[in-house]
Symmetry: C2
Subunit: 201 residues, 2 copies
């Protein structure tokens, strides 16, 4: 007697889905099965959206945010205040702040935080690029908007030490964000208020 197996196409999709963060094997099976019965256009739209990611998204050479063109629409916008740089961990944080509509400056995306456990040191982040940007002149204030977590605080402190000799004003988002939380999950009002109430480091 042969054991019946999950058909190979479903097993393949299940295994690929299970590689995604936060998706276990059971969830992966259910999603694969859902997609199998979903309309073909939904499957095709999802497959196309995944496949087109790599070719259509670029990194802005000024702020290191992900964008559709380089420089990104924020860095290219003359109406924004280029003397004010908000430093965030991830592109998702830029979009969270943009949704508040409370910030008119520009950004700098670190692409991570200092984390000895995950072997992320200063050279793995866009910290030197930030220092160069400030050193090039024209920047009056740098807002350190890393997450209110242990690593986010440590990263902010490290960056502050790098920027202090340059004479630029360095601020941190107001405490209004709960410790241990994640900036990306803050509601828009909380995030807007934290931005308004920012204080010098």
């Amino acid at each position: 007697m042969r054991r019946g197996n999950v058909p190979a196409p479903i097993a393949r999709l299940r295994d690929e889905l299970a590689r995604l963060p936060g998706i276990g094997p059971k969830t992966a099976s259910r999603l694969a099965f859902y997609l199998l019965r979903a309309p073909e256009e939904q499957r095709e739209a999802l497959a196309a959206a995944i496949a087109s990611l790599g070719t259509e998204v670029v990194t802005c050479h000024i702020c290191y945010n992900l964008a559709e063109q380089d420089p990104c629409s924020i860095c290219a916008d003359e109406a924004r205040d280029h003397r004010l740089i908000c430093v965030v961990e991830e592109p998702l944080d830029v979009w969270a702040i943009e949704r508040t509509g409370a910030f008119g400056g520009v950004y700098h995306v670190l692409h991570g935080v200092l984390s000895p456990l995950e072997r992320m040191g200063p050279d793995d982040l866009k910290i030197r690029e930030l220092v160069d940007r400030v050193r090039a002149g024209g920047v009056e204030e740098v807002i350190l908007a890393t997450n209110p977590s242990f690593e986010g605080e440590a990263t902010a402190m490290y960056i502050y030490q790098q920027l202090a000799p340059l004479g630029v004003r360095v601020t941190r988002l107001a405490r209004g964000l709960p410790m241990g939380g994640d900036l990306e999950y803050a509601d828009e009002v909380t995030l807007a208020r934290a931005l308004e109430g920012r204080r010098p480091v």
Copy 2:
């Protein structure tokens, strides 16, 4: 001043992911962002796995399980006991039972349960097809392995009423599965034991 937006390719993928069951907008954003930074071969493998689902998976015309060929490998296997039919709600349940290695018969997949709320009546399930299969002869026992939930019980009872006049033995999986649970999530030992201890309805 223009607000910076999530690049269109990421927004598109996020929106497609958010259409999947159990994936909210925040999880969809995180997954889209993860995929953006994943190696290109991982993205391509996932996109290909999704796209190939529709063309490579068929329904077995005997048991209505999903398979790579029709009839499926279980129905086509002469070494299995075709006098014993195990009736399940979904293909995932077939694979859960196959993993136990405790069942040597064949299956019948209903593709759902009776549910007035979801407007699933007997004609939406493969119940008539099961009755026809039993009526065609050669079947000695039908194991009703629907989930131990309210709908699963009601569906089993309905099927029992349809099969009783045909003089076939009808059994139900042993209580060992917790009420309100989902067969698919049962561990293999519990499921194997429930199969061994099956009782007449």
